[in-house]
Symmetry: C2
Subunit: 215 residues, 2 copies
Amino acid sequence: VIPTGKDGCENVAVGEVVASERPRPGGRAARVVAAVHAATFELLEEVGYELLQLPQVAERADVNRTTVYRRWPTKAVLVADLLASLMQVNVPTPDTGTLQGDLEQLLTQVAAVLTSRSVRAVLRASMTVADDSPDVQRAQAAFWDERFARSGALIERAVARAELPAGTDPRTVLETAASPIYLRSLFTSETITPEYINQVAYRTTRAFGDQKLQH
Amino acid sequence: VIPTGKDGCENVAVGEVVASERPRPGGRAARVVAAVHAATFELLEEVGYELLQLPQVAERADVNRTTVYRRWPTKAVLVADLLASLMQVNVPTPDTGTLQGDLEQLLTQVAAVLTSRSVRAVLRASMTVADDSPDVQRAQAAFWDERFARSGALIERAVARAELPAGTDPRTVLETAASPIYLRSLFTSETITPEYINQVAYRTTRAFGDQKLQH
């Protein structure tokens, strides 16, 4: 039994994650993971990380408590696992032919993902967890490494097109491009317009590009 | 009675905020605000936003419940007020003579502030609140406007020195410079080295600077 979210956005986000976690469709273990993740998403939104309790997750997911405790001994482990599952969502890496176009498409995707209440709830929980547990902090670092690595091809293609100097670190470019979107979406609540995304992409290109080749 | 934090870092952060809120030292109203803010800081760290309850805040602050409810009818209002009080912390605006130097100093300050458990707790709470309440979202937007406006002089001086083109929007430059620091500090848990800060400042200067004047 996979509980559904309260609105369309949540269903999309949860659905994507659930789908990505089913390498062997129909397997019991995969069903348990999907149900527990979906239940955790919901409860993080409803009550937050501090109030979240594993027995409650088990009940909502319709999974045996013992099964839950065996795989996720603490809620910190569960949240780290949720982050890892978000990582598996297959967002296609843009390939528009220009760095500007690719970054615009990527940032539009990032902005869309960050509107999901589920994703926001997991990010919030992960801030809480990271403050307390070095293990989970490492798991999170791995999540972000993977997340950024997935879009690395976009930067490598820009290097191949000589839009960026050889040896440019993909992670740093992507982090620079994405971070203003995170700040606006999660903290300052400013609107993220296509115009803003266009400018962020342009500034990122200028910040890293070979200036001799610009203009 | 102003409760103190659990370690040196917290005491510094709470102390700064408390001090800034005492335009009339010794006034009863100012003492109440200081005590309630300090208690809220502590409880946000200890139990988080979801578990925070106003009566608990009143007890910890040694302030009458009725007094608390009169000024802060909901915990969302209280968190918005805490954010506003953070805004009043007087961090001197750097004035090193170059945009690169000023940005490095500013980002070093930002990175230091973001290590405070109190500040992290308030930011986490504000993410929770903003998802629920448009009023508080507006209060937060005002907080960030003010926060960025305070460092605006730094950008204006760079424009005066012709390091940045006339008409450059100070807020956008500061947001671009600060956001990678927020991302690393709050989410990816990567170390923020002086070298990284140096590079972020350099890239920001390149992204906004007049390229004819560079190199």
